[in-house]
């Protein structure tokens, strides 16, 4: 895949008013790829050599043919695995997955999908889902603060004020009250960032072995390579899918636009007053399969009658938690891979790839300083 620049997640039009934003975003994101690649190269050099199978499509693009789209399409469930049912008689812990937040607190939802449940009079009136990474908003906060304010006012509340989002020094506060206790504009969990996605994908291109046996199963692989948390749906699944392509000798990258997305929502069996209610899930930023933001709420003609989301049933049971809808959301990212058997790396030993922050000045200037990986 060869591209001439990186688009914003979902190819959203946030940069339309300022062309320099597009340039800066491309510079920042390309820099994140380069950090990851440099880090992998450093690891390979220290572990017997080999060439990095992860590439930056904007600077070192490779011609096709790439694999069919579905081969690079990696899906996972949006509800955190750590709160999911764990066998007979151990039900899903919905309440634990969405505790009340105060400003300054991040959510515990760690599958690149977070949500805010809007209640009035103890009834759910809307549920807001986002999968927009916080480092994208850090970038906007540093480069286009007015855009940040506009997005909050459009999607969270018209009451949002500049000083609610930014400190006296102009720095963006991603855990502000409108993104925590009063709403969800973007992801808050420390691991839910774009750099983590890139670093995970790059790290997973390194073939691994333990005691001479190449690792081909997701959990042993992630425990060996330490590129994420084995207790998630996402990280092990992304890692093994990327690593499988690497074992085929392919060069791998993330497809433009780079992002984490909602691919689909399953509204089957949702009813209100006996009528279908699955269609009230509306994507409001991006579009399936690159949806960035969605809201579930009843249309005005129903809410005017006093009905709320709490009156919506799944089967015969009323909705009580946002997580009941989150587990019906399929998340995904899209990778791209070159033809097989172009690279022949030997499996490397276990151990985490250390981040080589060659882009420290870049990130300080344009985006998040010191972005953590998925272990965060």
């Amino acid at each position: 895949m060869i591209i001439d620049h990186f688009d914003p997640p979902g190819s959203i039009d946030d940069f339309a008013a300022d062309p320099t934003l597009r340039t800066n975003w491309n510079t920042w994101l390309s820099g994140q790829f380069d950090i990851a690649i440099t880090s992998v190269n450093g690891f390979l050099t220290a572990h017997g050599g080999g060439s990095c199978q992860f590439y930056n499509p904007s600077t070192h693009g490779l011609p096709g043919p790439d694999l069919p789209h579905s081969s690079g399409d990696i899906t996972w469930n949006g509800f955190p695995k750590r709160f999911s049912a764990t066998g007979p008689g151990s039900p899903t812990r919905y309440a634990d997955a969405e505790p009340a937040l105060n400003a300054g607190q991040a959510r515990v939802q760690d599958e690149y999908l977070e949500w805010y449940v809007n209640k009035q009079n103890n009834k759910i009136v809307s549920i807001h889902f986002t999968c927009e990474a916080w480092d994208y908003f850090d970038f906007l906060g540093k480069n286009a603060p007015a855009k940040v304010l506009q997005l909050y006012q459009q999607y969270v509340s018209p009451a949002v004020q500049q000083q609610d989002l930014f400190g006296a020094d102009g720095s963006y506060n991603r855990l502000n009250k409108w993104n925590t206790e009063l709403g969800a504009m973007h992801l808050t969990h420390s691991a839910n960032n774009l750099f983590a996605e890139i670093f995970l994908a790059a790290s997973a291109t390194v073939r691994r072995q333990n005691q001479g046996v190449e690792l081909t199963s997701s959990i042993p692989l992630i425990n060996c390579a330490e590129y994420g948390d084995a207790a998630r749906n996402s990280d092990p699944n992304i890692g093994i899918a990327v690593n499988g392509l690497a074992r085929e000798g392919r060069m791998i990258t993330l497809a433009n636009p780079v992002g984490l997305y909602m691919a689909a929502f399953d509204g089957s069996g949702l009813t209100v007053n006996g009528n279908p209610a699955g269609g009230f899930f509306t994507v409001v930023r991006g579009a399936f399969p690159l949806a960035l933001r969605a809201v579930y709420q009843l249309p005005p003609q129903l809410s005017a009658t006093g009905l709320t989301v709490s009156d919506v049933k799944i089967g015969s049971k009323n909705i009580e938690f946002g997580g009941e809808l989150a587990e019906r959301i399929t998340m995904h990212l899209v990778g791209a891979a070159s033809v097989a058997q172009t690279v022949h790396n030997a499996p490397a030993a276990c151990g985490a790839i250390q981040q080589v922050d060659t882009g420290a000045s870049l990130t300080a200037a344009l985006g998040s300083p010191h972005p953590p990986g998925r272990k965060g």
Binding site: P65, L67, P68, H69, S70, S71, D73, T75, W76, N77, K81, R82, S84, A85, T86, G87, P88, G89, S90, P91, N210, Q211, V213, L215, T216, S217, S218, I219, P220, L221, N223, C224, A230, A231, R232, N233, P236, N237, I240, A241, G244, E248, A263, A264, D266, S268, G269, L270, T271, G274, N275, P276, I314, G315, S316, K317, T330, H332, C350
Partner: protein, 545 residues
Amino acid sequence: MARSPQSPTRSSQSAESQPQESDEPVLDIDDIQGNILAGFNKDYQLLVALKLNDIPSARNWLRRILPGINTLAEVGHFNAVFRMRRARLGRDPIGLIATWANIAFSYAGLATLTSSQDADGVPDEAFKEGMAARAGILGDAPPPEKTDPTVGWVIGGTGHVPDVLLIIASDDADELAKALGRLQPTAADGPGPPQIIWQEMGQTRSDLPGHEHFGFKDGLSQPGVRGRISSSGSGFLTPRLLSASPLQDMEFSAPGQPLVWPGQFVFGYPATDDSAGSSGGPASPPALNPPWLRNGSLLVFRRLRQNVAAFSQFLHTTAQQLAQNPDFAGMTDARLGALVVGRWQSGAPIMRAPTADNPALGASSLANNDFLFTTDTPSPEFKPGQPRASIPFPTASADPNGFVCPHAAHIRKVNPRDQDSDKGDKFDTLTRRILRRGIAYGPPSANPLVDDGVDRGLHFLCYQTSIVEQFELLQTDWANSSNNPKPGGVDLIIGQVPGAQRQFELDTASGGSTTLTAPQQYVVATGGGYFFAPSITALRQIIAR
């Protein structure tokens, strides 16, 4: 003995983590109903749905038929004898027949005969709500101008949910009829005996035994259930044939048959550990309240009508169109069917027979289920002392991208094996396995391409301990989804997406790619229900007391 996530090497995992015989629980084979873990495996299977009337009469009836409800010990031992005789004879033994019966209760039936509090203790929301209430979740489409998908169901629709489901199975139709005569309620049971509200015979196809009506051999893939049948000495419920596993961190009982902890299917036993990052060890069974749920299981029944003509015509028309595409030159109805199902009609897996059917492979129980998806499948290594003929079929090569067996192929959809899914890794997939006990109903089609208007299909039956996390997840999260467990389309056999077209991706290693669109549904639910199959003890001491 769950494996430590910090011991990732395959060799060390293998050495440290394979459970020893003594680790496996002793199954209460005299208390567990026989169809759950052993399977009746009969040519005739009658389903009888009943409604309760007078409760004392119902209890009289249950007490009367209790000795006729067969146990795991009875069914399992008979099956073992049958296998021994067949191995010696080289064919099914003549005259060795049995007739079995099992029973299960819907939530309403169980609550009526025990209490609402006790019925609420069954740890599964789907069971409590019932299939009719959850038909929409399953993707069942309502008829035109209706909102209830179960309108028109022959049994189990809204307002027509049975309290009791009786399963009577036999090798002989006459013996089955006699058993029905013995087991059905009569006036002698009291003034208001339970009433039969529906019954229907399932029968293996006389022309193609073991094949469902689309023509494919069915029931080939079942998990191996861990557990011992005796506290003294050896004796696994599932014989262990292999000395080495094709996946070194997962134990198999036979080629292609991974071992699953019995709590996945029967309450009161260790289940497969599904906690995040686990490696498939046993998880302690949950406390049961009421305690008499132990040795019980949850039964799903789906009456699935199959439109054989429409399916066959879809394959025929689509194969002809694909054959014009150089990437799919030579496509035939049979090969397209194999791609859609993942097996040829003989049962031969397309992973081991990519280009043409191999009936001998399909008939080989040691080979027809032995394949992985993401890694090369090694030849099986059998335990010493078990003479085995060499297996003369090519092994399966890794197919992580779905070029050989499409990601949306039916058997890959409902069991992704070693491939990770949206819900977790291969150990998570083990927790989704079910024990299928289905059988065809209705006569075979004389000409599959001609719509004769006859109602035929499958009595799909399966046992598990979580309908939500097992049967329903397979149907809703995987079969109905175009994205899960891997992107590539909808399962064209059982997947259903009301109001949207069902699509199926076909890709080839040489870069060919196309998306098929199925113009209609070929399998439609026309009945069903969720039931609890209690232990013999619970039947005697609680339900029929």
